[in-house]
């Protein structure tokens, strides 16, 4: 465990003590700062006019749907492209700079290496989610809101980020080139959303159910609406485990290849 922490600590320092991470955070903050006040403003105006439109759907008067959901969608879009940028160096660069030799000749197991690096990636994603969470949190100055569904929604997006991180470190472990790792990782991240299209193209109800279940969208929507479903957690957890396991196998394979 102490070795996992040693690797994790080193990589976390690599994220949080490097200017690159802060440049990314700054750019994300710039996007949020542009979009969030606008969305909030629109919502406030809609509330004012709602008095004259008694037949307006209730959902449109809910800040969670009208303001926080777009914020989470933007965050999700950002994560699809930023998580690969954060994770691409974790293995690819080590291989390229031959520092991987150090890890492979140290008394650590492949699982410890992957776990350490994965924890570090999670910490970086947590940082981005926290940054994004500051905006809804700041809204409490003007409005009274329900904390529990908001926190569960952000937990949901964090778990989705964790799924991206698992797929992306796997992509990074496959290649020596950071650019290839990045492109591969973005394709992985987008692929899990495109899987959901299958729901519309197949006819058999069983196939539909399968596609519905493996589509990230379904699971994320439930969490974003503030409901924690165990089947979602198990599905997302097994995705994370699967890709971390694949990554561990790739690292281990360099010992006998």
């Amino acid at each position: 465990m102490s070795k996992v922490m040693a690797i994790g600590k080193k990589e976390i320092k690599g994220f949080y003590l490097s200017p690159n991470f802060y440049v990314v955070c700054f750019l994300c903050a710039a996007i949020f700062s542009w979009v969030y006040p606008n969305v909030l403003n629109k919502f406030a105006m809609a509330l004012q006019t709602a008095v004259y439109q008694p037949d307006m759907p209730k959902q449109q008067l809910n800040i969670h749907y009208q303001v926080f959901l777009p914020q989470l969608n933007i965050l999700n879009l950002i994560l699809i492209f930023v998580v690969p940028a954060l994770t691409m160096r974790l293995f690819a660069e080590e291989k390229k700079l031959h520092t991987f030799d150090l890890l492979l000749t140290s008394p650590v197991t492949s699982a410890q290496i992957v776990a350490g690096k994965y924890l570090a990636a999670l910490s970086a994603i947590f940082g981005l989610c926290f940054l994004s969470f500051l905006y809804p949190a700041a809204t409490t100055v003007f409005a009274h809101l329900n904390w529990a569904p908001l926190i569960i929604a952000f937990l949901g997006i964090f778990i989705v980020g964790a799924v991206y991180a698992a797929m992306d470190i796997f992509a990074s472990s496959l290649t020596e080139s950071a650019v290839v790792a990045y492109v591969l990782a973005v394709i992985f991240n987008m692929a899990v959303w495109f899987v959901g299209i299958g729901v519309d193209v197949v006819d058999s109800p069983l196939a539909r159910q399968i596609f519905e279940h493996i589509s990230l969208n379904q699971h994320l929507m439930a969490l974003v609406e503030g409901t924690i479903r165990t089947n979602s957690l198990i599905f997302l957890g097994s995705l994370i485990f699967l890709f971390c396991f694949l990554c561990e196998r790739v690292v281990e394979s360099s010992r006998w290849r």
Binding site: T99, L103, P107
Partner: protein, 318 residues
């Protein structure tokens, strides 16, 4: 301490090393010698558990490197060809990180890092980012990294590459100092390095061991023979035929220039006298005659590049 049996490694169709067998005892310093691409690095990588052999086995401290890699890695400090340093870390932080990875207990951590910095004289740069250091300093950080866990076995792949002559001398002194406490294997193709530091030499060529013995035994490979270098005034004289008739001369070869000759002869006391008087009598014009002792370089070239003839050609080329 280290035992290698029938070790073979092939990459695809290329066989990098073929049935290597050798043994290194505790506290020994062994030089791994061979031309580029002979399979030195491959052998070292297998011993460190970094890659698996195609067949055969290697053990370190009684543990098989493939079956029990973690136990082996605990006992090994390894400096690869490219020092495995992170550019974005400071020297001291990096060494501390390596010590943590190698499982050095917390109470010994600071002491070990201090000692590694001191032994490789990195004190002046310990607070600088590694990416800003020169190649020589990075190499020293690489050596410090191998030392920091105080391993029983040190495996150094070309430890003095990129260092200036003073640093090379320092590293050699360091290796001499470590002798006895650590078992050391170092690979190189720089011969004086081996002569200066190693007790035993393994010469490897095209993936096979061509010789393994102590330095003294290897350089006396041609026991009872001596080599004489001769320089005469007359260029391109037909010396080889005429000299062959002298009693005790074994072989005559052309040397580097038109006037130079190399003579292999038996080690009898008056050999030089006899050759000299022959040259003078025949009127070739003796300019220089010296007795050259066969050194490691000769042995190395002979073993790795085949015949003496090839060795001379190579020398001329240089």
């Amino acid at each position: 301490m280290i035992e290698v049996q029938n070790l073979t490694k092939s990459y695809g169709g290329i066989t990098a090393i073929q049935s290597l067998n050798f043994k290194v005892n505790k506290g020994e310093v062994v030089g791994f010698l061979g031309p580029n691409g002979a399979g030195k690095s491959t052998t070292m990588k297998i011993i460190t558990g970094f890659m698996a052999p195609t067949s055969g086995r290697a053990t370190v401290g009684g543990y098989d490197v493939f079956e029990n890699p973690i136990e082996v890695k605990k006992r090994i400090g390894y400096l690869p060809e490219t020092p495995p340093v992170y550019g974005d870390m400071k020297v001291r932080d990096y060494l501390k990180y390596v010590a943590e990875l190698k499982g050095v207990p917390k109470d010994r951590m600071a002491k070990n890092v201090e000692r590694a910095i001191e032994k490789t004289s990195l004190g002046a740069v310990e607070k600088r980012l590694i990416q800003n250091l020169s190649k020589g300093f990075r190499q020293r950080v690489g050596i410090a990294q191998a030392l920091v866990s105080e391993p029983e076995v040190l495996i150094l792949d070309e430890p003095t590459v990129g260092l200036d002559p003073k640093q090379v001398a320092e590293i050699r002194d360091l290796i001499k100092e470590l002798r006895g406490q650590h078992t050391i294997i170092l690979s190189t193709h720089i011969l004086p390095e081996v002569q200066a530091t190693c007790e035993r030499i393994i010469i490897i060529h095209r993936g096979q061991i061509v010789a393994q013995d102590s330095l003294a035994n290897l350089t006396n490979l041609k026991a009872g023979q001596r080599r004489v270098q001769l320089k005469v005034r007359k260029a391109k004289a037909q010396l080889d035929q005429s000299l062959s008739s002298v009693n005790g001369v074994i072989g005559v070869q052309a040397g580097a220039g038109d006037q130079d000759w190399m003579i292999d002869a038996d080690a009898s006391e008056d050999m030089i006298e006899r050759i000299a008087s022959h040259v003078i009598q025949k009127g070739y014009g003796l300019l220089e005659i010296t007795s050259a002792k066969a050194d490691l370089e000769d042995v190395f070239l002979k073993l790795t590049y085949g015949s003496n003839q090839a060795a001379t050609e190579l020398e001329q080329g240089v």
